[in-house]
């Protein structure tokens, strides 16, 4: 009974993540690559994404805090963040990065600060949601069940 509830809860949770645009099809692609030989593949990729992104966000803060902002550097960091969010399927983060690069091109410092706030917000949101998702997966496995396949 409890396992059934856990699995239904998982289905609802992950469906909402797709529905609300937090995750896109690339995340499903990653799930499809996971198998018995590498059962933590998605978690490993997500962990790399979290670590990479924290570093990039810190770098971005530092770069924007300089007296004279090096917009090329800002753009390079955002480009990297866009790449890694795209690789994991973190759609909302990726979309903010796309807008961020346009603002960068206009060398609009205030605009860049706003984008940075937005991208931080989206990043921490998707990070927390993914952590919840992985926790739900662990609970299902601990209860002896298997994680529902969503494709």
């Amino acid at each position: 009974m409890e396992l059934g509830n856990l699995q239904r809860g998982y289905i609802d949770y992950i469906s909402a993540l797709f529905h609300e645009g937090f995750l896109d099809n690339q995340f499903t692609q990653l799930q499809q690559l996971q198998d018995e030989s590498n059962p933590e593949f998605v978690l490993e990729v997500a962990t790399l994404f979290f670590d990479d992104s924290e570093k990039l966000l810190n770098e971005l803060s530092r770069t924007l805090d300089q007296q004279v902002v090096d917009f090329k550097k800002v753009d390079a960091h955002v480009h990297q963040l866009k790449g890694s969010s795209s690789s994991i399927g973190a759609q909302r983060v990726k979309n903010v990065c796309i807008a961020f690069r346009d603002i960068c091109e206009e060398t609009d410092t205030a605009g860049c600060f706003r984008c940075l706030q937005q991208v931080k917000q989206e990043f921490y949101l998707v990070k927390s949601k993914l952590e919840t998702l992985f926790r739900l997966e662990r609970q299902i496995l601990a209860a002896g069940g298997s994680i529902p396949i969503m494709w």
Partner: protein
Amino acid sequence: MAVEAEARFHVLAVDDSLMDRKLIEKLLKISSFHVTTVDSGSKALEFLGLSATASPEQSEIEVNLIITDYSMPGMTGYDLLKRIKGSSSFKDIPVVIMSAENVPSRINRCLEGGAEEFFLKPVRLSDLKKLRPHILKGKSKEGHLSQEESSEIDKITSRSISHDSSSICSKRKAMDEESAQERRRLRLSCGGLQYDLA
């Protein structure tokens, strides 16, 4: 008669992003390639034995395809491509370039520079299906093909539609123009199915 183990092709993947290296390695392994990953163009050249610091033993490394990111600090994927194509020992190794950015001039430049394919990131499993034909072509240039590999190339170049697809198509019912058009579309998409090289 001795049964030969299926030879696995060796792909060298180059990307400065750890995340992307992990991804491409997984995709390649799932596609049954033997994989080596490096994080820069210079490390790739070193691995191939093309750098000044390479030792003689390294020239025994066999690489059947190189897949590289375009935007890397120091040596870009394009720079690496030119170095490889400019080398007498490695110019026949097929090179594929990946990029997160869809810039037509960049894509053309790479293809004109000798790249076999240009993949947009994130790379998918279906993209990797395009790799084997290039590897086999590269090997045929070297004259190193086994009987199996030669017949694989014949299969690819004749591109015959498999029996499976025609049976799917023949299950269609109605005779009016619209469904006939649909059948034509379905037949075309069946014909475009990835041929199975496994």
